[in-house]
């Protein structure tokens, strides 16, 4: 297993402040490592990768890596990514968002990006809370869980990101966790190479804001929970149904080959230009 950390160091901007801003035990650091390993495994040059990040804990991720990076406004990471992809479809555009970024304020952009099937990889880091602003209840906080704004338990149901993206028409939908790092490498690299819109939801524990209030004594307890409460979707009898025991299915939920919006656009452009000649 040698050289894993060494190659990650090759992709970091060492003139930034390290260690990075994430709390001790935060899963975002593991996802960052996984993203770097996936890009390295695909052999993409650093200049061909664009990392677009929104606001929030996950938005800090774009600061640390040595790709082309954009740190955009809250919830609008996907719109910036759509513009970049349409302007230069040669680039691999990866969009890193948190659950508040992607589901709450940017929920509309997410469903329309999925409907358009634009060739962008959306990486949704779901820590089930608004971590950076002080632990408010987000749209991905499970029902009954305690946050700063819901001290007696959340009354609302949480969004299922995978189901919503499937319904909105994304052509690659997967879910991983930051505990299952090797599987996450696989999911992210196949999502990057997928032609259409691809979504990878990553469960990334937030020990500081979410875990402390919800009976997780430390970060290790949260990772143990992830280990025992997830099930591979391939092992389920009926992959379309959720397991009865409440475990979270992880793996690839949809993988359909569909041309992305930019491919269809340039095909139309070629056709029309051929008619004019």
């Amino acid at each position: 297993m040698a050289d894993v950390t060494q190659l990650i160091h090759d992709y970091l901007r060492h003139n930034k402040k390290f260690p990075h801003v994430f709390c001790a035990g935060c899963g975002h650091g593991i996802v960052l490592g996984s993203l770097i390993r996936s890009v390295h495994a695909l052999g993409l040059p650093k200049d061909d990768v664009v990392l677009v990040a929104g606001i929030g804990c996950s938005g800090r991720m774009a600061v640390y890596v040595d790709f082309n990076t954009v740190h955009t406004t809250h919830g609008r990471a996907l719109t910036f990514a759509t513009g970049i992809k349409m302007a230069n479809p040669r680039l691999k555009v990866i969009c890193v968002m948190g659950d508040g970024d992607a589901m709450s304020i940017g929920g509309n952009h997410l469903i329309h990006a999925a409907r358009r099937n634009i060739g962008v990889t959306a990486l949704i880091l779901n820590n089930q809370i608004y971590g950076m602003t002080g632990g408010q209840c987000s749209s991905a906080t499970p029902q009954g869980d305690i946050s700063m704004t819901t001290p007696f338990g959340s009354l609302e149901k949480a969004f299922d990101i995978v189901d919503m993206c499937k319904a909105a028409g994304a052509s690659y939908v997967a879910r991983g966790t930051s505990f299952h790092a090797i599987q996450l490498d696989r999911l992210i690299s196949s999502a990057i190479m997928h032609p259409g819109f691809s979504v990878v939801e990553v469960f990334s524990p937030c020990p500081t804001q979410y875990g402390r209030k919800n009976k997780f004594r430390n970060a290790v307890d949260m990772y143990k929970w992830l280990k025992s409460n997830t099930v591979k979707v391939e092992t389920l009898k009926d992959p379309t149904q959720k397991p009865d025991d409440g475990r979270i299915p992880i793996g690839v939920f949809r993988d359909v080959e569909e041309p992305g919006l930019e491919e269809r656009y340039f095909e139309l452009q070629r056709k029309l230009m051929g008619q004019n000649r």
């Binding site: 040698a2 894993v4 990650i8 260690p19 650091g29 490592g33 970060a219």
Partner: protein
Amino acid sequence: MSKKQKGQTRVCVYPDWCKGCGLCVAFCPAKVLVLNAFGKAEVANEDECINCGFCELHCPDFAIAIKPRARNGAAQPDPRSGWEDPESEHGRASPPEPTPEPNPNPEE
């Protein structure tokens, strides 16, 4: 894991980047790492390491590196990075002392 595959690696923890989350300590199958008095991960029994790579993949702060061990016990130097292994000097054979030039005039 057979016994043969143990002890072939050198585990390096970079203490400045470690935040002491304890993931590597809790999940290491061979109990190689412990948390020290400063709350940071520290290598306790390196010879038990089975080279599974869990700590290296799951360290959120990129503070752990597993390197193959050279014959004399030192980590093999990586020319690509300037990341110094703090213990590499101990295992390496010390360079030979420069022999003092014979004094041409022993009387003076």
